[in-house]
């Protein structure tokens, strides 16, 4: 007899409907899984066999063929365990023939029959909802996540529970955990940073206008500390953004069951040893990289020149288009990647430059090589670049600085203003910008950057028009000459 169960495979972040068919024939006992499946799905055989035995259910005699259709679609991961097990049990008549209708299933099986959560449940649940299926059998830990897609999650702890439910013997009750019962972990606060008025201001402007930010300066001046506090002055995600971010993090297996919906802009800080696929995504079955995980959030590249040049250059596409397209022989995947890039760097390889108390020992060649690592094209993507000098001792002992909450209020107000009206330059401001283009080495792209930052500054000041002082301040954030390749 043939039985069918339904689930979804992911192509990038996109759910594709997959029908799991199981057929039990007479013949020597065997289990074959076909349909372009990867190792994890092949290994499902062993998990399912043990799981079914642990649930004290009969294993069908004869030859079992499981087919995952469409056959040309690549299927990866252990989320197929549960639908395959259910299809086999239905084919063996351990379940009523039509009991699987109107259900989708996703989950990994333990050898003891337990159902384990897998990544990407939100996307699978969205696929089910789109296909008009409103009930999803999934691990209890994934239920809250699945509920975000608007389907009715059926939390299953054990394979036996799923079988009992499908036989009509039991109804699993979904008790919404309610995202947010577990308190948000506190974010590091700006009040902890003393001094650095210039860099703080730059951070605020960057947050208000979603500008990419480059912090340069000698080591130990608090560049990284400041950058890590950017999330604390960003407004929370809107519901649509939150769902998008949650979907991505779910596919990457980063969603916490206690609070699946991600409401805060994500913050990603990959190590500088990261490869180019780790940053932008890749692999044979493409996986999202850090750029995608930082979607609607912040991507911090600490010690920018230490990153592999290939990894940095790969960031240029997402910085321009907001998406990453990964092409592979077997097709391509597109991931969203609209992130705010924050980079930190020293001014020279030995780090002493910009520090009045130290002398740089770098040779001219080494310095040139260091600066050449960052292409002009990449530097051009940073709307705001500032040099953070070493703070004086009396700054460090000064009274506490402003808290993140106060800065965030200004950032939120500025973003609201920018969303409704775009401030226009006054004639004086226009004249100043033209004068700057003549006098300074300012490219067309550089001019556009200054204009953008000036708009943000006007919005932060609560002004409807961009005044000359806004243009002047925006000019002060252009890339310092000593960072440019020579």
């Amino acid at each position: 007899m043939i039985a069918r169960a339904l689930t979804h495979a992911l192509v990038g972040l996109d759910p594709r409907r997959v029908e799991v068919e199981a057929h039990v024939q007479s013949g020597l006992p065997a289990l074959a899984i076909v349909g372009l499946v990867d190792r994890a799905v092949q290994e499902a055989k062993h998990r399912i066999r043990s799981g079914v035995a642990s649930a004290e259910l009969p294993w069908p005699d004869g030859r079992i063929t499981v087919s995952l259709a469409p056959a040309q679609l690549k299927k990866e991961g252990s989320g197929f365990d549960l639908p395959i097990a259910l299809a086999i049990l239905a084919a063996a008549r351990s379940l009523p023939a039509d009991s699987l209708d109107g259900h989708a299933a996703v989950g990994e099986l333990g050898l003891d029959g337990r159902v384990r959560p897998v990544g990407g449940v939100l996307a699978v649940a969205e696929g089910a909802a789109r296909a008009g299926i409103d009930r999803l059998l999934c691990a209890a830990e994934s239920a809250d996540e699945a509920a975000l897609a608007g389907v009715e999650p059926l939390p299953i702890h054990h394979l036996a529970e799923a079988v009992a439910y499908l036989k009509g013997e039991l109804v699993p009750v979904f008790e919404p955990n309610g995202n947010g019962i577990a308190p948000e972990p506190p974010l590091p606060d700006l009040a902890e940073v003393r001094g650095q008025e210039r860099a703080r201001r730059a951070l605020e402007v960057a947050a208000a206008g979603r500008h990419n930010l480059l912090l340069a300066g000698p080591p130990g001046t608090g560049k990284t500390m400041l950058a890590r506090r950017l999330p604390s002055i960003l407004p929370p995600l809107d519901p649509h953004e939150a769902l998008e971010v949650t979907r991505i993090h779910s596919v990457a297996g980063l969603v916490r069951p206690s609070r699946p919906l991600i409401r805060h802009p994500p913050f990603r800080a990959p190590h500088h040893g990261a490869s180019s696929p780790a940053i932008v995504g890749g692999g044979s079955g493409p996986r999202p990289g850090e750029a995608t995980l930082a979607h609607h959030g912040v991507l911090l590249l600490d010690e920018l020149p230490e990153f592999q040049r290939a990894a940095l250059e790969a960031l240029r596409q997402p910085l321009e288009d907001g998406v990453v397209t990964i092409a592979r022989v077997g097709g391509h995947a597109t991931y969203p990647a609209q992130f705010q890039l924050v980079g930190t760097m020293n001014l020279c390889p030995c780090g002493a430059r910009g520090d009045p108390a130290a002398t740089c020992t770098c040779s001219a060649q080494r310095l040139t090589a260091f600066r050449d690592k960052l292409s002009r094209a990449l530097l051009d993507r940073f709307d705001i670049a500032v040099t953070a000098p070493r703070p004086r001792a009396h700054e460090l002992s000064a009274s506490a600085a402003e808290e993140s909450a106060a800065v965030r209020a200004r950032v939120v107000a500025a973003r609201e203003r920018l969303a409704t009206t775009v401030p226009q330059r006054t004639d004086d401001a226009d004249a100043l910008l033209s004068r700057a283009v003549e006098r300074l080495p300012l490219s067309a792209r550089g001019r556009a950057r200054v204009a953008r930052v000036a708009r943000t500054l006007a919005a932060l000041a609560g002004s409807d028009r961009v005044e000359p002082e806004h243009v002047a301040e925006a000019l002060s954030y252009r890339t310092p000459r000593d960072l440019e390749p020579r």
């Binding site: 008025e197 430059r353 910009g354 040779s363 040099t387 002047a472 002060s476």
Partner: protein, 277 residues
């Protein structure tokens, strides 16, 4: 086009040194009179500080504006800034190479070499076209830099620096040696401060250089400034944070004022520190 000039046609100052070159190769179609004009050598460290770079450029600009030729070695750092300063003033500058004049060395300054040629300056060398740069050719080149000039100005130099070799050649030939004083704690000023201790002329402005030629620096009209600009200018030099502390201005307002001053050419920034020009 490259021209060779034999020893008898060389300027008298250069012929007067201990071992003048047997000939000079010159790129382009030059006016040889140029080499006989009053000239000052501006030399210093390749990996200089932003302060040194700015001082070299400003001094070279003001000295060149008064009509004195700026001679240097087209190296990175102080040398390149000195050439640039002369070009800024629309003045004349001569680059002496340690390789053939058809070579652009260092490659990073190829564009600068082109601008020197366009502005009517010279690129000269005692080596035949095609000769590769080599470490031992640079000290020899330095004797020509010193020999072409009535005085040699060292802007920034470490304790062991090629610029000090140039100064030694200048002393041997009986020329004036000038040095820009620097912080006593900075390794980049160890060489210049040592020169000063030995009796070099301290340079605190273009006037100190021009005095030796009997010239006066061009008087720049004092800029008229609004309130905030004047306050910020008064508080220089310093980092943006220090200016914020000293003036009590908000970080944004201070940044705006500095950008205005920079646009007017009154302030420049290097590694986070702002200085008046």
């Amino acid at each position: 086009m490259i021209r060779a000039v034999a020893r008898p046609q060389l300027p008298p100052l250069l012929r007067a040194i201990f071992d003048p070159p047997s000939r000079l190769y010159i790129r382009g179609d030059p006016d040889l009179e140029l080499l006989a004009q009053p000239a000052v050598a501006v030399v210093g460290a390749r990996s200089c500080s932003p302060y040194g770079a700015q001082v070299a450029r400003t001094l070279a600009r003001e000295v060149a504006a008064a009509g004195v030729v700026i001679v240097s070695g087209l190296a990175r750092g102080i040398d390149a800034e000195a050439h640039r300063g002369a070009l800024d003033a629309g003045g004349v500058t001569v680059a002496v190479l340690g390789c053939g004049v058809d070579r652009d060395y260092p490659a990073a300054n190829a564009e600068l070499a082109r601008r020197i040629m366009e502005s009517g300056g010279l690129i000269v060398s005692e080596y035949e076209p095609g000769v590769e740069p080599a470490p031992w050719r640079f000290p020899a080149r330095n004797r020509i830099i010193a020999g072409l000039c009535a005085s040699t100005l060292v802007v920034e130099a470490r304790e062991r620096s090629g610029a000090l070799i140039t100064a030694d050649f200048a002393l041997e030939a009986g020329r004036d040696v000038l040095a820009v004083p620097g912080e006593i704690t900075s390794a980049l000023s160890a060489g210049t401060n040592a020169l000063l201790r030995l009796g070099a002329v301290p340079v605190t402005g273009a006037g100190d250089v021009l005095e030796l030629f009997g010239l006066l620096p061009e008087q720049r009209p004092k800029p008229r400034l609004g309130g905030v600009g004047a306050v910020v200018l008064e508080a220089l030099p310093g980092t943006m944070d220090e200016l914020v502390q000293r003036t009590g201005l908000a970080a944004g307002a201070a940044a705006a004022a500095l950008a205005e001053l920079e646009l007017r050419g009154l302030v420049c920034e290097g590694e986070g520190t702002f200085r008046s020009v």
